[in-house]
Symmetry: C2
Subunit: 486 residues, 2 copies
């Protein structure tokens, strides 16, 4: 951990060495599920269960109270009925526990009575100098510390995406979709009602976190506007921040209000806040992770000129259209580049942009000679490549040429892997290379591409908008250096 | 076939009883691939191969010329070098063949010389009173007639989506993605350079085709504008038409020009044409099929008021936001409805819109009692339901309650199926019910939902915009009846 991290006010919340756990029982329930997941993730610290009656719970020793524990745990995890949370936190505070994750709901989100109880919680933790995430949340996941208070199993690998979310679902329910794309979280916060630790605290933390390359935010409403802008501006100068804000439409705002009680502001106001703060705005939850993936994996381009490479006219034209709509330019290639490609270029192909091969005269041309020539062209800032990866058809072609059935299958798979490696190596040129496909990202040939490190996004709109996010990132950085320089 | 269909000028092109095939050989190539796929699809008519030298090709008898055939085939399929196409069509015409699909490229799309050759083709076929699809196309797929001139295997079932496409890729490369969603084509046209049969002819045909419930179009440029509007207007009064137009942006327009030589017009002009013609415009190729699926499977709603049902706050708020942005309203429920639901509603839930259960007190409530109460509410025109389908977690819960491992797996799968059936039955209320998920549509529990007939779209933007497409369809129909009435 960096030195700055060691001073983080909420480090105990993300990297506890010991935990006191409230709410596990031998019956199925939220507490038991969270404890099961925490153990399944392989948490290496000590877990002390507290249970009012039993001396053993789920096969573990249970203690009657935190005051009976042989040491002072770093963190309390509380999954108890709302009415028991205050007294429990108070007891923890008296023992010297410095932080708490309160999963329990039944507070501000239920109305005035709950809000009063929540205010009490805040007073208790502040009185003891504690920091608290929640209530009404799924707490913290730190994949690099094997720590989680989530209800669903974390199925991916430790990753580079930090997340702060005002919805627990947008933490846990992303585990599967991210793993399918070989992406993973570094640390993810479900902040719930933000009675103490809020969006801004988590953003500050992720800004310093060495495992986090890019920060995602799901926002229904920002409480500390000025601090948010100041913090985000500082953080975004060195690490991209992507936000998905749903409070801006009338319908989204109303929904957020009854979900976590956060007050939303009009869309335009938030647009302004995000721009000032250097935050890249995503339109959907899928886009959040599209943007995080390209921002975390691809170099930032020098300009907005994209070359589309395709072997199919329609998908090429559709990508060109989507790029135009996203604000990207499609430059003409330098005559020298055209000459350089001419040797491996089929006569039916088009050397305009999209560069359309129509078919593959030389098997390596599409993934090697041609993209390399494009990337060497001074007119090209980025490359967007269509990936059909028709492995089944290639296998059939090999069979038609006389190969045995299994030999053809293996040869086609090998070709797929070789092509994936070739495309993956292209990004070394210092210009971003992005793949797009009309297939499902869960199709084997596309998965092979992704496993070899090729970034692939589905459709044409999502990849075009992801490339534009790289440019927005660049613009924010330039503004930040100008500020620093001035 | 309907009587009108029997009079269709292009019926021979879609339902030939016999075919003369040019361009198959014993070597791997476009002709051989297409013939292989035609046979693989199970075409039941006669196929006569013509080969200049061999008497047997790919294990079939081959004839030296069409004039030697024992009968006059309905259709010629031509996959020959460009220079041979004219003489071949002329010979077919003299034999009395009434239609042709010319797959061969090398015509207008390559420049002035090719354009001149293409004009000759047109003169030849018109001189013989023939109709021709192509050149530079993948021709026709009629799944209900087991007929195809496509290069990729058709992997789905015969379906209800008719397609006219100025890109062959947007026919063949959709086979996989559509099959994954249990969707299929009825008849799909790749029109290529449209030297004779064009978008308008195909639209006219699909308007009458009894297997086609909804028509999709991929458009790079429309040649016969007036006829397009007249035909589309007539067709859309009874059958929805969805179009994806890529020529509107500067970048898309340039790309289309070098792809099929079609001249694009500005975006706004096309917007106007589509509105006049009753054509629903899609923004991406995925959206084309989203729209087709809901238009072909769901009833048209009476108004734009959608109720979002969720068991997760974040996905609910995100859907509410997406609905608002798409132009839908989120009404409050009638107090009576709230009372009706109260019995099965958990105390932590929210009875606002989104209706958020937060968790399931009664297993059937989410798929039966609650959606039924919502659909009975006069304030609700449509229902948008979040489907997480956490089958793995449910299985784990069953195990925690003492079930054996496999028994729990089976019980959770059974629950998934029962829920799918319950949701599928909901649409009988005459109001559209659409599912949305943040999982991949290829995940087993979601596939189960879809196999039972539940329409599920991924994310929040796509389902919201698909519901809006239903409303656009309704608006167009109202305009059409007003016209008919006046």
């Amino acid at each position: 951990m960096h030195e700055v991290m060691e001073n983080s006010a909420i480090l105990n919340l993300t990297t506890p060495k010991s935990v006191v756990f409230y709410g596990a029982s031998d019956k199925f329930g939220m507490g038991s599920v969270i404890l099961t997941q925490l153990k399944a993730l392989g948490f290496e610290g000590d877990i002390y269960l507290v249970h009012p009656k039993q001396t053993e719970v789920m096969g573990h020793r249970a203690w009657p109270s935190v005051s009976d524990l042989p040491e002072t745990p770093d963190l309390a995890v509380v999954v108890l009925p709302a009415g028991l949370v205050g007294p429990t936190l108070d007891e923890c505070g008296r023992k010297g526990v410095k932080s708490a994750i309160v999963v329990s709901g039944g507070f501000k989100e239920t109305g005035p009575e709950g809000a009063a109880m929540e205010a009490e919680l805040r007073e208790i933790v502040r009185g003891h100098g504690m920091r608290m995430v929640g209530p009404n949340c799924l707490g913290v996941l730190n994949t690099h510390h094997k720590f989680s208070t989530n209800t669903l199993p974390y199925v991916g690998s430790p990753g580079y995406i930090g997340l702060v979310s005002q919805s627990g679902s947008f933490v846990t329910q992303m585990f599967g979709p991210l793993a399918q794309r070989d992406l993973g979280f570094s640390t993810a916060f479900s902040v719930g009602n933000e009675a103490d630790v809020d969006l801004v605290d988590c953003l500050e933390y992720l800004g310093e976190c060495p495992h986090t390359r890019v920060i995602a935010m799901y926002i229904e409403g920002i409480r500390r506007g000025r601090e948010f802008v100041e913090t985000a501006r500082r953080v975004s100068a060195k690490k991209p921040i992507v936000a998905y804000y749903v409070g801006g439409s009338e319908t989204g705002g109303r929904a957020g209000l009854s979900h976590t009680g956060a007050m939303a502001g009009p869309d335009r106001l938030y647009d302004g806040i995000f721009r000032q703060a250097g935050v890249i705005r995503a339109e959907t939850i899928e886009e959040v992770f599209d943007f995080c993936q390209v921002l975390g994996s691809l170099p930032v381009p020098n300009g907005n000129r994209v070359v589309v490479l395709t072997d199919s006219g329609g998908p090429g034209a559709a990508a060109a259209d989507a790029c135009g709509r996203a604000g990207l330019d499609l430059p003409s290639l330098d005559p020298g580049t055209k000459e350089r490609m001419a040797d491996v270029f089929p006569v039916t192909g088009s050397l305009n942009n999209p560069v359309d091969l129509t078919f593959h005269r030389v098997p390596t041309a599409y993934v090697d000679e041609i993209p390399k020539a494009i990337l060497a062209d001074e007119n090209a800032d980025m490359l967007l490549m269509y990936l059909l990866a028709p492995v089944e058809v290639i296998a059939e072609a090999f069979r038609a040429m006389g190969m045995e059935h299994d030999e053809a299958t293996a040869a086609a798979a090998k070709m797929n892997e070789d092509q994936a490696e070739a495309v993956s190596a292209l990004s070394e040129k210092g210009k971003p290379v992005l793949g797009y496909t009309l297939r499902s990202l869960t199709d084997e040939p596309i998965k092979t591409m992704m496993k070899k490190g090729v970034i692939v996004l589905p459709g044409t709109r999502r990849p075009a908008r992801a490339l534009m996010a790289l440019l927005t990132c660049r613009a924010y950085r330039e503004k930040a250096s100008a500020r620093a320089g001035g």
